[in-house]
């Protein structure tokens, strides 16, 4: 109940007002001045920006590749987080709290230094290449690749996937696995027929908790990704600061929101079911 009330409070004051402003900008016209936009109520009403981002291959492509990167990130996070969460749940209560703390540890350290660390590892004269060269292997171009970007994304979002999986696996009745074993199920069969189906809501929650924020990620592609990775977050920043085309930037933000609504709705449904 309190959770729901708090949610509405945040929705009203933290989401609805800024969203209305973004919508107003998206429906306006780019113009010289401060701010560089003519609002609809000042005679600048236009749907050009919305049409543009929905039809222009560049903007549609940015939305699609954002979804693709977010989906890859979320899938990789869930794949890594599931065995991690299972291991933490199966640890004895003493070590368990420390393992969980280790998962949370990145939240306590700065985000930019951690990205800086990845740059230090990946760059041409970085640590990984140092080791490769030491063993007589050719140095690799790693920084500013899709792979480096994905590694950074997975690193940043992994804890968001571990926590819901930890929650759902912790609530799993160990007697159910024993019953399955008693009826002849080996370790793999127990995982597939008992643990995974029961953890399904947690898996979906973990995926969406990563997928939704990852779709709008700006900093990690900027720091680790290739220039060709024109994801929505980067395009929004370009339009906003470099092209000073606020309506297109706002329309792209709205476009991202619209494509994220179905998964959000799905997440909401899973939440009410669980």
């Amino acid at each position: 109940m309190i959770g729901r009330a708090l949610l509405w409070l945040v929705l009203t004051f933290g989401v609805a007002t800024p969203l209305a402003l973004v919508a107003a900008i998206a429906l306006g016209e780019a113009a010289e001045g401060i701010p560089p936009v003519r609002f609809p109520w000042n005679g600048g009403a236009a749907t050009d920006s919305l049409v543009l981002i929905a039809t222009d291959p560049f903007y549609v492509g940015a939305l699609l590749s954002s979804l693709e990167v977010a989906a890859l990130t979320a899938a990789a996070c869930v794949a890594l987080a599931f065995p991690m969460a299972l291991g933490i749940v199966r640890a004895r209560p003493g070590p368990r709290i420390w393992l969980l703390a280790a998962v949370m540890l990145p939240f306590w350290t700065g985000f930019l230094p951690r990205m800086g660390a990845w740059i230090g590892l990946f760059r041409d004269s970085g640590w990984i290449n140092g080791v490769l060269v030491e063993f007589g292997l050719p140095a690799q171009q790693m920084l500013y690749t899709d792979a480096a970007m994905l590694v950074g994304m997975v690193h940043a979002y992994l804890p968001f996937a571990v926590l819901p999986l930890f929650g759902v696996l912790l609530r799993l009745d160990p007697r159910l696995e024993e019953a399955a074993a008693d009826l002849g199920a080996g370790p793999v069969a127990r995982l597939v027929t008992v643990v995974l189906p029961q953890a399904a809501p947690g898996i979906a929650a973990a995926f969406l908790l990563v997928f939704i924020p990852a779709a709008g990620e700006y900093v990690i592609p900027e720091l680790l990704g290739p220039p060709s990775a024109t994801l929505v977050g980067r395009v929004v920043v370009q339009e906003f600061f470099q092209n000073r085309d606020w309506p297109v930037a706002a329309a792209l933000s709205l476009g991202l929101l619209v494509v994220l609504l179905p998964p959000l709705w799905l997440y909401q449904r899973l939440g009410t079911q669980g």
Binding site: L176, E178, A180, A181, D182, L183, G184, T193, Q198
Partner: protein, 344 residues
């Protein structure tokens, strides 16, 4: 040879022994009850036989085969869990058919046997429901069908009636007994309820602190409890303390009386002897031990009287009619020598 032989089984949790060199046998096709209080190790014994707990010492043989190297999924026995442990994400039919699916049974065979198993427990109409949509008694029967469908030679049951209310418990107990007879599987049932154990089982083993302290038929346990604990656990027995006499009698100053049990107590003269005397074996007459009623409790068709003898002993006796003598009333007590059971 017995179907199940447990020899010298010891299980330790931390330093404490949950099972202490325990010996137990379950004959082929028998219904054996393990009776004990909480912490007696009875559930640990079942979990060890099923393979969920590793013993520190001892052997478990099923049909002469040592189970030690086998993980739970390869042990040819099944267990019905106390909380039933039904899979909540599967239908009743899928729960019941789970073991057959794991064993790789053909679909047609599985459907047929699941149908037969559900019919056996009267749940044909519920095959497609989820366990959560069933009552406690129905869930219990699903768990039973799921465990019996693989026709185990031995079924372990952990407090199978424990989660049911009193009225349902009696009926379900009778059904359990009938199913056991019909399937021919040996049942090893854990319970803390002495009435349940005595009513259902062919043999009862009483556990105390991880050891079997007495086993026998329900009749043997009821009539000849070996220790104070067994006599007390089976309920409503008086325990009379006394001193052994050279002629085989027992001098009991608390009554006061000299008692002569039909079974010799075998103790040297002068040593303490405890005798069990069941409440319902005490008769009321004109000759015998005088006592005064201190309390009368209505017991549905009978009265449980608490009595004080002139020596100060407190005895409980069953007055066979609903309206018994009131407190302060004087009565005279007597019993057959065979009613007196010397305890170890």
């Amino acid at each position: 040879m017995s179907l199940l032989q447990v020899e010298g089984l010891t299980v330790r949790f931390g330093g404490a022994a949950a099972l202490d060199a325990l010996d137990l046998e379950v004959p082929e096709g028998a219904f054996v009850a393990l009776l004990g209080g909480s912490g007696s190790g009875k559930s640990t014994l079942l979990r060890t036989i099923a393979g969920f707990v590793a013993p520190a010492a001892g052997r478990i043989l099923l049909g002469g085969v040592d189970l030690a190297p086998l993980p739970p999924e390869r042990r040819p026995l099944h267990m019905m869990f106390q909380s039933y442990a039904l899979f909540p994400h599967m239908s009743v039919a899928d729960n019941v058919g789970y073991g057959l699916r794991r064993a790789g049974a053909a679909t047609a065979e599985r459907i047929r046997r699941v149908g037969a198993a559900l019919e056996m427990v009267g749940l044909e109409a519920f095959a497609r429901r989820r366990p959560a949509a069933l009552s406690g008694g129905q869930q219990q029967r699903v768990a039973l069908a799921r465990a019996l469908i693989l026709r185990p030679r031995l079924l372990l049951l952990d407090e199978p009636l424990g989660a049911l209310d009193a009225a349902l418990r009696e009926r379900t107990g009778a059904e359990l007994r009938a199913l056991q007879r019909a399937t021919g599987s040996a049942f090893l049932m854990v319970t803390h309820d002495q009435a349940e154990a005595l009513a259902l089982a062919d043999r009862v083993a009483v556990l105390e602190q991880g050891r079997v302290i007495q086993q026998g038929t329900p009749r043997e346990l009821w009539d000849r409890p070996a220790t104070r604990f067994v006599a007390g656990f089976l309920g409503a027995a008086n325990i009379i303390e006394g001193v052994a006499l050279a002629d085989g009698g027992v001098d009991c100053p608390a009554l006061p009386a000299t008692l002569r049990p039909a079974v010799p107590h075998g103790k040297p003269p002068g040593s303490p002897v405890a005798l069990a005397l069941r409440a319902e074996r005490i008769g009321f007459g004109d000759e015998g031990l005088p006592a005064v009623v201190t309390e009368a409790t209505y017991r549905g068709g009978a009265s449980l009287l608490t009595l004080r003898t002139s020596g100060g002993a407190v005895l409980r006796a069953l007055w066979p009619e609903a309206s018994g003598p009131a407190p302060e009333h004087a009565v005279t007590l007597s019993w057959e020598p065979s009613a007196l059971v010397p305890l170890a």
